[in-house]
Amino acid sequence: MDKRVFDAVILGGGGSGLRAALQLADSGFKVAVVSKVFPTRSHTVSAQGGITAALGNVTEDNWHWHMFDTVKGSDYLGDQDAIEFMCREAASAVYELEHMGLPFSRLDNGKIYQRAFGGQSQNFGGEQAVRTCACADRTGHALLHTLYQRNIAARTQFFDEYYALDLVRDAEGYCLGLTAMSIETGEPILIEARATLLATGGAGRVFWNTSNAMINTGDGLGMVLRAGLPLEDMEFWQFHPTGIAGVGSLITEGVRGEGGYLVNSRGERFMERYAPHARDLASRDVVSRAIATEIHEGRGCGPHADHVLLKLEHLGEQVIAERLPGIRELSIRFAGVDPVNGPIPVAPTAHYMMGGIPTNLNGQVVAPARYGPEEPVPGLYAVGECACVSVHGANRLGGNSLLDLVVFGRAAGRHMIEYLTENPYPRELPDAAVQFGLKRLARWSETRGDETVDGITRELRRLMQKHCGVYRKRAVLEEGLGELAGLQERAGKITLGDQSRVFNTARIEALELENLLLVARATIVSALAREESRGAHSREDFPQRDDDRWLKHTLYHLENDQLDTKPVRLKPLTVDSFKPMARSY
């Protein structure tokens, strides 16, 4: 098998992976970025609205207010040390992107344009703040392309269209790199590195209705579970309120930030009832539940009464063309509506995974071990949506995702440099650890039964939508878990028709399905365990938040579906803790 050796290997070419890679490459380390797609095809490219930082370009602002909003938005499940760190670092991370060349939209005074987003306030819950920095409604595209461009300049080594199989670890738990395969040739490869960073993004493809790209299959999550490490808070999935009805593609919250609003079939601005103060700019979990309730109670629009309408005609063609050109294009193409003339039909769509691979502030993967619940796994890091640091807690605020990518991408890069300096020589690589990933590959050459990847994937996504959506309850979750077990068994009977080595996408989809099945399992088991409603996790049978029992994170292990918990870090780095309060908007 081909073997390549680097100081560090980064799995994933989205915003967080590229930001970390840049830190390492600029510091003279040999770094490889392994990505199953050409980096600018990563899902960061789809982010629309912007990146939140308290620059104060439009309204008076400071990082501490941003921190309060993020803690409250997380329904107090976010770790306050991580949230303080992110909000403190936000301004410098955004200025740095500007210096790199990101073409932010501009205010008349030449400063970075900022827009209002949901859950943002001044003075710890006061007036609406204007905090999200934007490049029209293509901020993710601009950010991803800028970071890719800087990495070309820094001569980062790219393994484009390589699919990762598994982590390589030794008996003492050190991560020594990963096994992967070239999609083009089908050849496996060992990439050895003293530090490995997982930046594989989300897994929204476990749901039927999702804003997520087809590549978002939780590959890093599967690798971590197979390596015997836990996943944190997997019950928390954000359903974005405004996906294009029936399609799932996203219409940014920035539309409501620019003055758009939602109406039901009676033409009512129903958010006034659910969030009298913030109305359409309440937190995403609040707005999604409100839409689900309107539809459920028969006030949905359209022939099936299955969506609500997002109105923005009143903004005028000029504002729409200048600030929201991308969503105008999406709406015309996928909803058949030019928002200049008519409202966009929208419904909640699975959008973001708040949970993921547990890490600390340095991006180090942490797991329960001898000395406590958060011991770093040597040589292994995770950042971005696949990681749970946890800054988003039970519900992420809009604009905090791109911020998470660059702040923790940079922090992980910095810590990896330290780690590489302290660990200058590679450790011995056990052969058995390499075989682990290759076995995964070999299975897909075998003739089994007559199940198909496409068939199982469709059933899985329907199952998750039905049993683990916006509202959840025990009986339905349990039924879903039972059906999932059946699907997992049937997945063992899949035979691939395509046995070519060259660009065999059927095999990639099969490997992705393995990861999706594990993500689904972690999600349902965690959702069953958490008997309360908090943030995006709404249990009909436990409608209240229960801080006495559940102000803690869940940790899911693959072995026996074991579920542990660990405390929320309520103590920030320097400021006073924000005590859990009733959450209203």
């Binding site: 050409f38 620059l55 500007e98 461009q149 087809m214 060259v502 660009f503």
Partner: protein
């Protein structure tokens, strides 16, 4: 609906061929990508790239009925049957609709697609007026799908020497940026018989761009600068 699909697997030992297939699909509200996914559900050996399925990642550019399009934003109802799908022209075919994009990426890298500014960075953002920022409209939005460059006859003939419409549009994106200080260097990089001047203004690129961008216009602006600095 009737399809004719370009099929090629180098491992099969067979030459490329066109496969006739019928698919039971209602085209209303569906895109070409939806049909390709259905076709693949029935025959998993069909290989193509795809990801965002909303026209922003640039993965699924193919040639449909002779035109380069992004499959995910091309309405099925807009295509005449039989719908003939081929890989993008002018690039080596790896399998089915999958081409080797490296000649395209190499030209992209050749224009140094990153902001060059050697001045010490200010503590806050560099200022840029909305008018200066407006110069980047229509240039920064490129998604690197390759639809334009692989529709360009000059690129077919000289993929190693001619930068191609996408790369030249990106060159203009940095020349046009008030924060970039390397205009002279960038113009030097393009001033040769092939790199820019092989553009014959046939404007296939404008027709092909799924984002409605206009590389020909950008190339014209670079030409103007090249002429101006000669005088």
């Amino acid at each position: 609906m009737k399809f004719r699909l370009h099929r090629f697997d180098p491992e099969s030992g067979k030459k490329p061929f066109m496969q006739e297939v019928e698919l039971d699909i209602d085209p209303a509200g569906k895109m070409l990508l939806d049909a390709l996914l259905e076709l693949k559900a029935g025959d998993d050996t069909l290989a193509f790239r795809r990801s965002c399925r909303e026209g922003v990642c640039g993965s699924d550019a193919v040639n449909a009925n002779g035109r380069n399009v992004l499959a995910c934003v091309t309405p099925l109802s807009s295509l005449k049957e039989p719908i003939e799908i081929r890989p993008l022209p002018g690039l080596p075919v790896i399998r089915d609709f999958v081409v080797d994009m490296e000649p395209f990426y190499r030209q992209y890298r050749s224009i140094k697609p990153w902001l060059i500014n050697d001045e010490p960075e200010p503590e806050r953002e560099r200022l840029q007026t909305p008018e200066e920022r407006a110069e980047l409209e229509g240039a920064y939005e490129c998604i690197l799908c390759g639809a334009c460059t692989s529709a360009c006859p000059s690129f077919w003939w000289h993929p190693d020497k001619f930068v191609g419409p996408s790369g030249l549009l990106q060159a203009w994106r940095f020349i046009a940026d008030s924060r970039d200080q390397a205009t002279e260097e960038r113009l030097d990089n393009l001033e040769d018989a092939y790199r820019l001047y092989r553009c014959r203004g046939v404007m296939n690129c404008v027709e092909a761009c799924p984002k409605g961008l206009n590389p020909t216009e950008a190339i014209g602006k670079i030409r103007e600068l090249l002429v101006k600095r000669k005088v």
